[in-house]
Amino acid sequence: MADRDDKDPAGAAPLNRRGLLKCMGWAGTGVVWGLSGGVPRTLGLIGDASAAEVKQDGLTFVQISDSHIGFHLPPNPDPRGTLTEAIDKIKAMPTQPAFLIHTGDISHLSKEEEWDDADQVIKTANKQVFFIPGEHDVADADNGKAYLARYGKNTNGRGWYSFDVAGVHFIGLINVYDFQPGFKSAGLAKLGDEQLEWLEKDVAGRSTSTPIVLMAHLPLWTIYEPWGWGTADAGRALGYLKRFGSVTVLNGHIHQIVQKVEGNLTFHTARSTAFPIPAAGTGPAPGPMKEVAAGELHKYLGIRTVNYVRGKGAPALTDSPLVA
């Protein structure tokens, strides 16, 4: 651990102590997290030269989430505008990401015109985009038929898939179907047997040194059950993955950053590009924080950059708010 303070995963980012203190002062500030031995550690502030150097080589991709195109109420009547700002931020990155992932709730109401709008904005990044649906994307009367027709080409089952880039294995899971109210897991999301069996086979023959990125819209660990922030059968999925040396779980849904480390598994929810939701249990309901002032909104919104350095295992994550 101590060595890593001087030699980060990219071998070039000494810990900036002053920067660290600044980060601690305001949790919303963009921070580069180095994951060392499973323990997140701050490397520097976004915009620091040392932070930029972390992304010099290896694989870099960007996660965006919860763009909610179609939402039209306070605190953000223009989520298309804030998505555009997020994409502009990506376009301005000195090290361009290899691709983007969108971890769901592209639309607010599963309408074609909302997806049209989102696609028009996102395609200006000129990058390949890997989507998974949020529950707002499968809210048509046909339980997700429209999403699958549009985004589900070349996927398995009801839309799950995997792919490999630069030695990293990516898995897109769907936990916005198959809810089972009234059972022990009341109100929590489910992956379902069919998808879990697919997952088991998907990872079965792979070397434990393969870094894994697991994407799913709802958190794959239970953050707050009264608001449904969890996945009832996530444990079975994670059981198939715990033998791997580096598993990074990227979720959306809760419109704020919550992180957890469990052995070689690290869990990270992402900010939304549209509006914030209260911290678990701090409001009457997990709805938009409509009291947020226009001038404050951008502090709550953001994007995430993920950087792998070949042969180094766990990636560095950078969460950047949409503030200038």
Binding site: H108, E135, A139, G182, P288
Partner: protein
């Protein structure tokens, strides 16, 4: 099926009597009876169904109204009815012909649960 439908159509003739019965069953809801059919409303406010359990007579049309800033989508546990996503002020109606219990959730926020209990209508005497 056919006989059942015919019976239901026959039952529709009794709706003026049923409207009275329905409003008794739905003290917690906003039951409004009229000559043609009975109706009741479930409000969705602050991520809750109000009333969470609504009892109506067979033949009643239940309308859900979304008063939240977040969309909600009604889905019966047994698949009997499913709405599209309801935006703020959006409504969805379903007519309950057959007696029984119909637990449902918001499929977007599945911890939101409610139930419609449909009582059989009594034959006219």
């Amino acid at each position: 099926m056919l006989t059942r439908r015919i019976r239901l159509f026959g039952a529709l003739g009794l709706t003026s009597l049923l409207a009275v019965a329905a409003s008794q069953f739905t003290a917690a809801g906003k039951a409004t009876g009229d000559a043609a059919a009975s109706a009741a409303t479930v409000d969705i406010d602050n991520f809750k169904f109000a009333p969470p359990t609504l009892t109506v007579a067979a033949g009643t049309t239940v309308t859900w109204k979304n008063e939240d800033d977040s969309p909600h989508r009604i889905g019966a546990k047994n698949g009997a009815f499913t709405s599209a996503a309801l935006d703020t002020d959006g409504t969805f109606s379903h007519t309950f012909a057959a007696p029984g219990e119909y637990p449902y959730i918001c499929t977007i926020h599945p911890y939101m649960a409610g139930k419609i209990i449909v009582k059989p209508t009594k034959p006219a005497s």
